[in-house]
Symmetry: C2
Subunit: 226 residues, 2 copies
């Protein structure tokens, strides 16, 4: 028997009272738990988060280049950040998960939490409107928006992957150069990245070993998001 969730408490944490509590319940429901799950709401929430953060960064940094704006947006909307927000909300206590997912940990659990944050944003949008979402999101992101700056601290994929794995006390990724082609001044490096617990390895191809490692690490990060 599923214990009853204290959803009014969650509403107080979020700073929003739902008119239609079914939307909140749906946002908290993983596909493993029920047919009416949160994936469609997550689809909506993803775009809402993007426009709110884009608009905030655009006005906060009137001189930042498009590249810097995109990097800052990516930092603020990526899974790791959403997982942190989910943990601040103690969202794990409120999720409806199927029996198989209840025990899952690590990457899988983190991604379920991040998706639920996007789904809650989608639910608030449907229950209210974009302006209400905007006010709430700017509140949730207040400290992160104050801290972020163009051009610095946008960590590279290898650093992000290493930190991610260390956070779960997992071994460091293994990078192997599996091919070098071309003449000395114009070489192409193929690097394979393997991570403990991930059956698939990834391949990066670039003009330097370091760049190829970064590309391979970026692909592992993408795989871990799924």
């Amino acid at each position: 028997m599923e214990p009853i969730k204290n959803l009014p408490r969650l509403c107080r944490t979020l700073g929003y009272e739902f008119s239609n509590m079914d939307l909140l319940t749906q946002a908290l429901t993983h596909r493993s738990a029920a047919n009416k799950h949160n994936e469609r709401l997550e689809f909506l929430g993803d775009s809402i988060l993007s426009i709110v953060i884009s608009d905030a960064l655009y006005h906060q940094f009137p001189k930042a280049t498009e590249g810097d704006l995109s990097r800052m947006r990516a930092t603020l909307v990526r899974g790791d950040t959403l997982t942190l927000i989910a943990k601040e909300f103690k969202l794990g206590d409120y999720l409806y998960l199927g029996p198989g997912e209840l025990k899952s940990g690590g990457f899988r659990r983190e991604s379920i939490l991040a998706d639920a944050v996007e789904a809650i944003i989608g639910a608030i949008y449907l229950d209210a409107n974009l302006d209400v979402c905007r006010d709430l999101l700017l509140n949730w992101y207040q400290a992160r928006l104050q801290e972020i700056k163009p051009g610095i601290s946008q960590k590279d994929p290898k650093t992000l992957l290493q930190e991610h794995l260390q956070g779960f006390k997992k071994p460091l990724p293994d990078y192997q150069v599996i091919n070098i082609e071309g003449e000395a001044h114009d070489q192409t490096f193929t690097v394979e990245c393997r991570v403990d617990g991930l059956s698939q390895s990834t391949i990066g191809v670039a003009s330097s070993r370091r760049k190829a490692e970064q590309l391979a690490a970026a692909q592992v990060l993408e795989l871990l998001k799924k």
Copy 2:
């Protein structure tokens, strides 16, 4: 001397009168032409397009899965679609380009056109608001939204790449299996894709030759977007 652009005519085509015409001029200005160019507006426009299309698809297809919604959104907001919209608006006649870009054709020209559509969306958002953008975009996308359906006609990367190259009368891409690893029931295929006129080749790694080719083609499409 730059010929004077008939911007009021463009406004009539777009269906929107700018209060601040400088925003429209900026949206039409490629980075090769002036310091005040359209890249920041493009950053904004990308997110606005995403939320408007996401919202429309969410309501138009109440039973579609998140996967189908995401595929339909990707089809509607990708560069090829934006380039077509730009051509319907004859946007090429209104762009401010630097001397180097004036003569550029092919992929590069297409991507400049697609980016300008996003920048115009960003400019209208700043000149008015999201609701005005929404009404206009739903108008621009009316036929495409009526035609799109979940689950079908989301073309795979190999098909898209082939059609793209044929559109420019270029040779078909060359796919080569460069490695097969593992035992018969559990093989990994590495496929390289080369495209005429692109110095960099791409690599796809997957459990079948066909999947590896699709991954390699998808990466070429990404490269061509840049």
